[in-house]
Symmetry: C2
Subunit: 320 residues, 2 copies
């Protein structure tokens, strides 16, 4: 098992992944958590550079996340959106007044030539976050959702069209030319991480864009740190978001087993341990046949205590 002092690398998308990231930040020493974050959902909207998953992590880890909405900032107001509606403007993507400050400042700083990773690091410090939030890349990668209504940029599929169009597949524009986050690659090459945790994020639109960055998943596989994946599918349902719906539409089964198969087939030898919910305990044997250690616990994170418990559980797994 990794020494307690070694940093941990978590791979995360938005809301679901941020829950476990918060648990990990709580139970690790300050500064020991590194979160490699999906940027495939990023987009430019109303002239602004918007990074939904990075912001969800920033807001969650700084204690600013809106608990009621499940996204955005606590205590948010909506004056700009109300005014934009009055002007006949585009309001399908809801931008809160306080949230807008993040996008305005990021847009300004990126236009001035700052890297997204440097901006994100500076903002995390400003918000008092001890953990390191790394965009998966500083280069533009854009997740396209293939549907029976054509290819849709992710936010158009996810927010504007409310995940309604049946999905046939995904692609990640720009990914073959994108460089994985330099700091994370450097730490991987130095064997700095004691453990890699793939958060219970959507495998197709949150984790795959990260793992498919050139060289990244092979670097994770070569790293001595065990790779622990937490299933986002519990009892055949996605806790949050369209993962289950996508799996059904693509003709996959909808279970933790099918998630495990996806990771084993797409990234052979990467995953050391797969964490499933106790409600899926009957799948353990079949998942084990894929050649991974299966760990069973309660993976549904409602309270802060749930998040910490799952974090502790993933950190105690040896994967051996």
């Amino acid at each position: 098992m990794a020494a307690a002092s070694q940093p941990v690398l978590a791979l995360s998308g938005g809301v679901g992944g941020a829950k476990l990231a918060l648990g990990l930040a709580d139970v690790l020493a300050p500064g020991q958590l590194h979160v490699l974050t999906n940027t495939g959902d990023d987009f430019r909207h109303l002239g602004l550079d918007i990074c939904p998953d990075i912001d969800t992590l920033l807001y969650t880890l700084s204690g600013r996340a809106n608990q009621t909405l499940g996204w955005g900032l606590e205590g948010e107001t909506w004056q700009t959106m109300t005014a934009l509606e009055e002007l006949g403007g585009e309001t399908w993507f809801r931008l809160g007044d306080r949230d807008l400050a993040t996008h305005l400042w990021r847009t300004r700083q990126l236009k001035s030539g700052m890297r997204l990773s440097a901006f994100t690091a500076a903002l995390a410090v400003r918000l008092g976050i001890a953990s390191h939030i790394h965009p998966m890349t500083d280069d533009p990668v854009r997740t396209m959702v293939h549907t029976d209504r054509g290819d849709l940029p992710f936010q158009h599929y996810f927010v504007r069209d409310r995940c309604e169009p049946p999905v046939t597949g995904f692609s990640f524009d720009g990914i073959s030319a994108a460089h994985p986050n330099r700091e994370v690659m450097r730490l991987l090459q130095r064997k700095a991480f004691g453990r890699v945790v793939v958060c219970p994020s959507n495998p197709f639109v949150s984790v795959d864009p990260i793992l498919q960055l050139p060289g990244l998943w092979l670097a994770l596989r070569e790293s001595p740190a065990p790779v622990v994946v937490v299933s986002p599918i519990v009892a055949g349902l996605a806790i949050k978001g369209p993962a289950a719906k996508m799996m059904a539409e693509m003709g996959m089964g909808v279970s933790a087993l099918d998630v495990a198969r996806h990771y084993c087939q797409r990234y052979p030898g990467l995953m050391d341990c797969f964490v499933i919910d106790q409600s899926d305990a009957t799948l353990a044997a079949e998942i084990g046949e894929l050649g991974v250690t299966v760990a069973v616990t309660s993976t549904v994170m409602k309270s802060r205590a749930d998040k910490r418990a799952l974090a502790r559980f993933t950190l105690q797994l040896s994967g051996s």
Copy 2:
């Protein structure tokens, strides 16, 4: 005198000019007022396309202007600015939450290829404005203020540096390649306007950029409509803004006479009538020697009634 049914063209900058524009809109039949608006103060800030003078006119003519602040929207809130301050962002240019909607929507529409003139016209309709607000050009023109601290973009001089650096002159980047507003040029060529009113805006940074667009002031001079200029300097003071300070710094006298001289020297034969405040009545004879008709009235617009009275006064002048 022009027929009452003929449209009127007003040239305007921001706050000072918008007051008279509001008076003109009040006393003319709906749709008869055309305002050609300075865009030299426009700038890109935090990724947004901001047009301060156009917005002042939109907000003033739609009854949304903030009476207390003297700029921006009535009932404005400042959540985004507060949040931006917390992030350590740039907050010297105050953007209200509701005002932001205008900039976001404009930035989006211009990026999509819409012309500024078309966007402005659409927004005016949306806000219920019967008058026509025309940007002086759809091309980028940027007023640079020459100071003893170097050349400053206008908003940096005006807002960030609070007009403190002593001024030595002005230039308008991009002006020689800019096309004057097409609709206004078309109406001028058709001799459609019954009168041209130059509002009491800053001669150097609000009116000069408009008049120096290629072909514009000559088209105004050739038009049969009398050109009436209202002095922005009253009793040696500017009602609003840095005009008087600029004149002193550039070694000019600071009086309505010096404003009249500026227009006569720079645009010979353009001005038919010059309107001065009653407190400057003693200057009338000397101004008359410049070859213009001088009209004396109360030009300080505090109430709505003041605005209407000055508007009626300018419309009744024959300039002959």
